[in-house]
Symmetry: none
Subunit: 223 residues, 4 copies
DNA sequence: GATGAATGAGATTTCATTCAT
DNA sequence: AATGAATGAAATCTCATTCAT
């Protein structure tokens, strides 16, 4: 079908854009770079996406949907397990996700900042206006709390079924865990250095394993 | 003296640049913005700093020196205390530092990425070439491991004097703590939203207190 | 018949083009706008008209033919009347024509300018080259003097039958009348503001009536 | 002084822009054309004028000021004369003005349309938005009624001192006269064909003389 | 030392036109 | 005949950097 063909092309462009944005950043990516990557012309990119900002938000939207879908699958698959077990699966997946999916974490963080600067009337970041006006930004708004509420719900389930001993508010645990993973991802340098596996002589897998253990300990803590 | 006068002007420019870079980012800051903030001309900025990238690295360098000096003071002041006590002081200071000093954390993270992309032969980030060639980049290289080794040394002292029970490699503990704080800073949105003190209905001071407690627990853990 | 069908489609396109050109001008009209208005594809527009300029000249040609036909009808209908009476009918019709037919006057004026710049070897209006090369431009050339000569002939008839006392060259009277109507149309803003009926607190119908009276007076003047 | 130098340069740019806009129209003029004409770079034009639309409105503003100043001089010079005599001077000047000053009449007409489309909420001529937002547009608004009220005042003076016998509302006479001259200017093709002095075998000076005579006759008419 | 006018490379975006399907 | 995706030339505008004064 026509629609399928169009969607396929859009996806190709989104792939290329995602790659470029993640490799060299939004500002340093030229529309022509993306076009070349897909072996089409600049004009064609504009046929599918109204502007560079629109394209960026479309990439972000896709990342959100992917994350959401995977989270959902994990939650569904873990209905029979304890809340803690599912939360652990979610954490592992998110760590993997940040490690493998180039730049997804950056996209999420940028979106996060966008929302906050938007709410913040002080800021006159005119450069992000175009992003805030993108139809994809509107679409993300409709789903952007879903990953959080999904995870929070599982934490609460764990607290109720006794598998998670920590009785702090679920959202506080969520934020703390998110901090840990985000910080790890940020310092590790996200996807940017695929071939490196140590940082300051610490093996990155070892470090990651330790981060995971920290997460477990948070859930187990009695306060 | 002449030298002092020059240094004073340079500092004024660095202040303005730091503010702008942190508020709207490197790319969105125009040299003219900075000049206006200091009430001098664009040309004068170039008299003191060879290029925009050079100025950015100078800002980063100053942030490094500031951090280093404060760390040093804390270590000196804590010579009589246990390693754990000093480490806690360092952690508290760093959290404060990331919260108050607008954008310092971003500067550090960006430098961190710069080093890694530089080591990474794959990357063709031509846009950062100018930064890598800045004389300030060279200057930072000479000191950039100092904060880490300083903290690591204190952790090791704590492990030896028994105040830190966790026997994992000090550098692993360092990286893990750094992750936690960086993630917290990243998600909190750094300095960008001064007037907001909740995130998803969690009080940010509460959250920060919880993050601090996590840090202590890491040091106390028996593995 | 095939031919009729084709002509019908062409007319639909011409209608849409006429509307758009008149509403927002030649340059601001995109071929896609026109296509959408007719609910066909851009490609189809090109099937019927070789280029945007060609389409514009076709619209102009049609306007010319329409004007000519109406003039002819009026002249035929007025054969029994005095020259003056017919001239008055022509004037009234032309005023009405400029008021109702959106943009016709602009089309005529633009064509008029085109002819003159074409004759003018100095001009390097490269942008109108495409118009001058249009086959419709050639077609208009064959008829573009007809309205004038038709009206001039009636003026002369009026001068001969004594109904028009003014003995100035008929063509001079023609040009003067044309000026008056054109100026009125230009200032009134052509079709562009349908809902407004005063200009500087003068009722536009009153003003138009005065313009008409001026025309009569010209014909009646004894010099 | 600095200010003088800047004003001089601005005027040079305005001269070039005026020439180009009048020769080939607003849309067909590229900023580079104008820059080349002044023998400066594109960037420099933007140093003085924020955008193409801004430049266009600046050209229009200057034309307005010039017209206004000349009108004022004529009125001052004719204080001792009858109203009719001053009005005739104004008419003659305006005819001359439209004939000599390249494109001034177009500028005025375009501005006139701009105001009307602006008042007209239906129109979504986004292309003129930039013009309406220009600071020069605002400046013109402050003076754009002055030529009219100045002339109307003189017509009224003439009606009072008995030199103008026509007792129609002064503003109606103004509009009618303005129509005649505008139509004449439009058909003559403004400045665009300096070397041509006949139109349909009518000598343009003769035609113009006749137009002038018409103007006098309007003033003398007893209705 | 300081200024700010001038430069020009480079980026985004638009749209008439083409052409494979 | 009709479609609409693809092209690419062209135009606007930005801004780091230079340099004459």
């Amino acid at each position: 079908m026509k629609v399928d063909k169009r969607a396929a092309k859009e996806n190709k462009i989104l792939d290329a854009a995602e790659r470029k944005f993640s490799e060299i950043g939004f500002q340093n990516t030229r529309m022509e770079d993306i076009a070349k990557e897909v072996e089409i012309s600049k004009g064609s990119v504009y046929f599918y996406f109204a502007s560079k900002e629109n394209l960026y938000m479309a990439v972000t939207y896709r990342a959100f949907l992917f994350l959401l879908q995977e989270f959902d699958l994990l939650v569904q698959a873990g209905l029979e397990n304890t809340g803690k077990e599912t939360v652990i699966e979610l954490v592992k997946f998110y760590l993997e996700f940040c490690e493998k999916q180039a730049g997804y974490h950056d996209l999420l963080m940028n979106y996060h900042n966008l929302v906050r600067t938007n709410n913040n009337t002080i800021s006159d970041h005119t450069f992000s206006k175009a992003m805030l006006e993108s139809n994809f930004y509107q679409k993300i708004r409709e789903v952007h709390n879903l990953p959080l509420s999904l995870v929070v719900k599982e934490i609460q389930r764990g607290q109720q079924d006794g598998s998670i001993r920590n009785k702090q508010p679920a959202i506080l645990l969520y934020l703390t865990g998110w901090s840990l993973i985000s910080g790890f991802t940020l310092i590790r340098g996200a996807n940017r250095q695929r071939n490196q596996d140590t940082l300051f002589q610490v093996s990155i897998p070892d470090w990651r394993a330790y981060i995971e253990m920290m997460m477990f300990r948070v859930l187990d803590a009695d306060q």
